[in-house]
């Protein structure tokens, strides 16, 4: 056993001297802790493509440079990481260096995991090494053409942009107003790697901030992933989580839905595999921490509900084609007043997704539809149907603009050209039907008909 593990073990012995005598129980506890951290780190979102083969990899990442496949991380010696030592494991997680020094693509969020404690890495190691079943399933080879397939530039990238574990830990040691905030920050910035999607990236692909320590860009909304635009998680009143209470955030992470909105896109996986399994205490810590952030956009006027459009629609006045389409296609669930019937059907009035400067998610939901994931505490899977085959680019632009500018919402107009361009670049996501919600396995994806 290499050094970090020994340190962790010593630390554990020091903290829990009584537990040292009950070795099997301690081992079980360690494995359970690892299982919990694997959920908190959402490893399965990428590394479990098929729920019958947990952690056997295979999830494709369609990137501009080609297709990457998430590797098998079961302890199978050939297909997985069975020949990794704990030090190899730690290096891969926190430094982005695979066994034998091969640099990992930063699709693996090692710049975030760098912040994880030795004890947590040790627990994860114990879980993956001792509890996850070895699976011999091999993953397709990455489809990235030479010269982009060369790995050595990744090393330069890492040196330039990724923090070392020591640097990351320093950020963790900064001052927090409370223990709870510190725990929330650890979970969000470390294992949760929320910033990987929700923080904007520079042209060289590194996240513009890895913690709330640096600047107001952290979690201020990221670039599209699989066609979906991750929202701003900061305290912006209109486009962030400014009007969400802590209990709203907790409910969202537990059940994928709350009175303000419903999960879609990649967040579905993050909730199904990850956050629904966290303790209430940890979810509250995350919520508490998120509420400490400042808005990313200064001077965003607070959203207030404007009843004018609802009144007009209820009187049968349809100001434009967007309104007409809305009444035909959307109002049954989202209502003419835009309040929806949360948590069954999310509100559009005041919804930060709707007011996102980037209308991508809204366009994609209208075209493709979306499935609300069944979770343990909220097993009802609801689906919004897709309208791609029923609505022209112009229709979509009209209805999306109507939604973005009604009930006090004030996001910019979406044009027919915007939708056309979006459709051109996101065909694969539009055609990718929402998963069939059967909640047999942890992920609804494998049940697609």
């Amino acid at each position: 056993m290499k050094k970090p593990g020994c340190l962790a073990l010593l630390a554990t012995l020091f903290l829990f001297p009584a537990a040292a005598q009950a070795a099997p129980e301690k081992e079980t506890q360690l494995i359970e802790k690892g299982r919990y951290l694997a959920a908190a780190s959402d490893c399965a979102a990428c590394h479990t493509h098929d729920s019958r083969h947990p952690y056997a990899g295979g999830n494709p990442f369609l990137l501009p440079i080609g297709t990457l496949y998430a590797p098998n991380i079961t302890p199978d010696r050939k297909a997985g990481i069975g020949d990794y030592t704990e030090a190899d494991f730690s290096n891969a997680l926190r430094r982005g260096i695979g066994k034998g020094g091969k640099p990992l693509y930063p699709a693996m969020p090692f710049p975030s995991y760098a912040r994880m404690s030795d004890a947590d890495i040790h627990a994860l190691w114990a879980y993956f090494h001792n509890d996850v079943a070895p699976d011999p399933a091999s993953v397709p080879a990455n489809k990235i053409p030479w010269p982009l397939s060369m790995r050595w530039p990744m090393t330069l990238w890492r040196i330039a942009f990724a923090p070392t574990p020591a640097e990351a830990r320093k950020s963790a040691e900064r001052h927090f107003p409370s223990q709870e905030t510190a725990r929330g920050a650890y979970l969000v910035e470390g294992p949760g790697h929320c910033g990987a999607c929700h923080t904007p990236r520079a042209i060289t692909f590194q996240e513009k901030a890895l913690s709330s320590d640096g600047n107001d860009l952290y979690l201020s909304g990221g670039a599209a992933v699989d066609g979906w635009t991750p929202v701003n998680l900061r305290q912006d009143n209109r486009t962030g989580l400014g009007r969400w209470r802590e209990e709203d955030i907790v409910a969202f992470l537990e059940t994928g839905r709350n009175l303000h909105g419903s999960a879609f896109g990649g967040m579905t996986d993050a909730i199904v595999h990850g956050t629904q399994h966290l303790t209430d205490q940890d979810l509250r810590a995350i919520a508490h921490y998120l509420k400490t952030s400042l808005p990313a956009r200064k001077g965003e006027a607070p959203w207030t509900y404007d009843p004018a459009v609802a009144k007009a629609l209820q009187q049968g006045t349809l100001p434009d084609k967007g309104a007409r389409l809305y009444v035909d296609r959307c109002a049954a669930c989202h209502r003419t007043d835009g309040h929806g019937y949360a948590p069954a059907f999310p509100p559009l009035a005041g919804n930060p997704v709707v007011m996102n400067p980037d209308p991508g998610s809204l366009i994609l939901i209208v075209l493709r539809g979306s499935t609300l994931p069944p979770t343990e505490q909220a097993p009802s899977p609801f689906t919004m149907p897709g309208f791609a085959s029923l609505m022209s680019d112009r229709d979509v632009a009209e209805v999306v603009t109507f939604i973005r500018r009604s009930w006090g919402n004030n996001a910019r107009v979406v044009t027919q050209d915007d939708v056309r361009t979006f459709r051109k670049h996101n065909g694969q996501w539009i055609d990718d039907k929402p998963p069939s919600p059967m909640n047999r396995a942890s992920s609804p994806r494998e049940n697609a008909p």
Partner: protein, 593 residues
């Protein structure tokens, strides 16, 4: 042949099967549920706007049984030769996960106390001679008070909307004055009245009757049920009966129970599994499991189980009992045997009112379970003594939304032209300004109305079809005509410009070509006497004690109310006794006298 083992095998993935599956999982038993039809996920096939396609839905029977594979044969009287029911019309059994519970409309009643002990009640009030000679009038051998906790439990799963009249004996609201006391309020407030229901409410009150909001398993508000499952609120779109509900607001097993089971590793749902028979041991006193046809692989499979729950549609339950040899088949000639006995239906007739030409009745809106009813002529809420019949009908406006094809097919009134300009004018006038009032009545059981295996016709699996011998009897026609007569004062109070009363006529046989209702009942009824009932009061087979048969097959008479609420309560009642008694000590829960 492939074999599997489980604690409990359940046949049918409708309400009864899903309730039993949930209860058996709560009791820690492994469950395999077999469904003959395909998987049905409301969130996929039921999503808007694809699901509200009338041609594909109600007309081409998207959610109904495919009679090309198996059906029933029908005849009116014992001296006729029965023929197969090849095109669904009079009744519409469901197929696929959710069963008829997916395509039902959502009217959610509790059985009236008198109806559950109708024979005893009639004898007490009118004397034994009041019962016609060939009528098999029977008690359920379970009382309203015994079922009350299970009615309540079911309503909290279904998210039922309604208004109570009495709770714990105290009058609490504007509900049905004839309804028995409840232990709790409805989980949701009543559905709003559509325009025609409001007209009926006012006119019925003016006529001296007691209108109330029908209890509807259509959610009047978003609802989180007792299993933590979410319903959306009903928006009166009018696509309930015959459709899966895209708003998730009409209760169905698919929305209200199955999502709580699907992630449970102890629960397995196998669709496209057509059960061929329940297997019995050599003494035919114990079931060993079931054999089904895996319709996708075209392969016979056997499941071994400790407990077999037959929970398919009413007549499939009877069919399966006959095919498997569970209980003695009924013979109307010798008047012996029980399986097939007391086959019952309901008497449904519709009257129409045409309002003024400025009064738009908006028949396109509606909710399948909602409406306004009167119970003044239902059950034994009125004196039958001078009337000479047994039974009754609630009368209601249950506007479920008339879709365009249905409107066109029903045309104008009885006297309107059948084609040409006059037809079109009458059609438009009828659609815009008329509405329907139903008498949804009881149907008693008779010695020569029954179910048995057809001697001639076989299904596509090579098994004999079930034969229905059914027609209307004078008692029920008399009842229907009496109740329909009581609609006339309502028509007058409505100020209808024109009205037509629909009623059964003496000598008119049961007509399979016209939709009436899917509320078939009996054939394997519950009761206290094994000579007249196939099941004991816990819906357990008298003859094979590890077989329970759940459904409206247990009803000894067809009641005026829609059956689903009572089926659900009986399912929870049976499950309760299986959980608290049977599983500890398997064997008969009632010993033969």
């Amino acid at each position: 042949m492939s074999r599997k083992r489980t604690d409990v095998v359940i046949i049918g993935a409708g309400w009864a099967g899903s309730i039993l599956a949930k209860e058996m999982r709560e009791a820690g038993r492994s469950v395999i549920m077999l469904e003959r039809g395909p998987e049905r996920r409301t969130a996929v096939e039921g999503s808007y706007p694809g699901s509200i396609d009338e041609l594909r839905g109600a007309i081409r029977h998207r959610l109904f049984q495919n009679p090309a594979k198996t059906t029933v044969t029908i005849r009116n009287t014992m001296n006729q030769t029965a023929l197969p029911y090849r095109q669904l019309a009079a009744f519409l059994p469901g197929e696929g996960v959710g069963g008829a519970g997916l395509h039902w409309s959502g009217v959610h009643f509790r059985a009236a106390p008198d109806d559950l002990r109708l024979r005893s009640h009639v004898i007490e009030r009118y004397g034994k001679k009041f019962i016609p000679e060939d009528m098999n009038l029977q008690d359920y051998d379970v009382t309203y008070d015994e079922l009350e906790p299970f009615f309540d439990k079911a309503e909290k799963v279904f998210g039922t909307s309604g208004e109570a009249y009495k709770i714990d004996g105290k009058i609490v609201g504007n509900g049905n004055v004839f309804a028995p006391s409840r232990s709790d309020a409805f989980p949701l407030p009543p559905m709003q009245d559509v325009h025609t229901a409001a007209l009926f409410r006012k006119a019925a009150a003016e006529a001296g009757y007691h209108p109330y909001s029908m209890p509807a398993a259509n959610a009047s508000k978003p609802y989180l049920n007792s299993y933590g499952l979410q319903m959306g609120p009903c928006n009166f779109c009018g696509y309930c009966s015959g459709y899966d509900c895209f708003m998730y607001s009409k209760a169905s097993p698919n929305i209200n129970i199955l999502p709580a089971l699907r992630s449970d590793p102890g629960f397995t749902l196998i669709s496209n599994a057509h059960v061929l028979r329940v297997n019995l041991d050599a003494e035919r006193s114990r079931a060993t499991g079931v054999t089904y046809l895996d319709q996708k692989a075209d392969r016979e499979m056997t499941i071994e189980a400790e407990l077999v729950i037959i929970a398919a549609f009413q007549f499939h339950n009877v069919h399966l009992m006959l095919l498997s040899g569970i209980g003695k088949p009924y013979d109307p000639v010798s008047n012996t045997g029980v399986v097939g006995r007391n086959f019952v239906y309901q008497t449904l007739t519709t009257s129409h009112a045409w309002m003024g030409r400025n009064d738009y009745t908006n028949q396109f809106v509606g909710a399948g379970g909602a409406g306004v009813a009167i119970d003044d002529f239902n059950s034994d809420n009125f004196d039958h003594g001078p009337l000479g019949f047994i039974g009754g009908s609630p009368v209601w406006v249950n506007q479920a939304g008339i879709k365009p094809i249905a409107a066109a097919m029903s045309g104008g009134g009885k006297s309107s032209p059948r084609w040409g300009k006059g037809f079109k004018e009458a059609l438009v006038d009828t659609y815009r300004h008329s509405f329907a009032i139903d008498a949804h009545g009881s149907n008693m059981a008779y010695r020569d109305v029954y179910l048995d295996l057809d001697p001639t016709w076989k299904d596509s699996y090579g098994q004999p079809l079930l034969r229905m011998t059914f027609t209307w009897k004078d008692n029920d026609i008399r009842m229907n005509q009496y109740v329909v007569g009581k609609i006339e004062p309502i028509m007058k109070a409505l100020g209808a410009r024109h009205y037509e009363l629909g009623r059964l006529e003496y000598g008119e046989p049961f007509d399979t070509r016209r939709y009436q209702t899917t509320h078939l009942g009996g054939g394997a009824v519950m009761g206290a006497d094994p000579r007249t009932s196939a099941l004991n009061r816990y819906l357990q087979s008298w003859d094979v004690s590890n077989v329970f048969v759940i459904g409206s097959n247990a009803f000894p008479q067809g009641m005026g109310y829609n059956p689903t609420g009572t089926v659900a309560a009986l399912a929870y009642w049976a499950a309760h006794h299986i959980r608290t008694r049977y599983l500890m000590h398997p064997g008969p829960l009632v010993h033969r006298a």
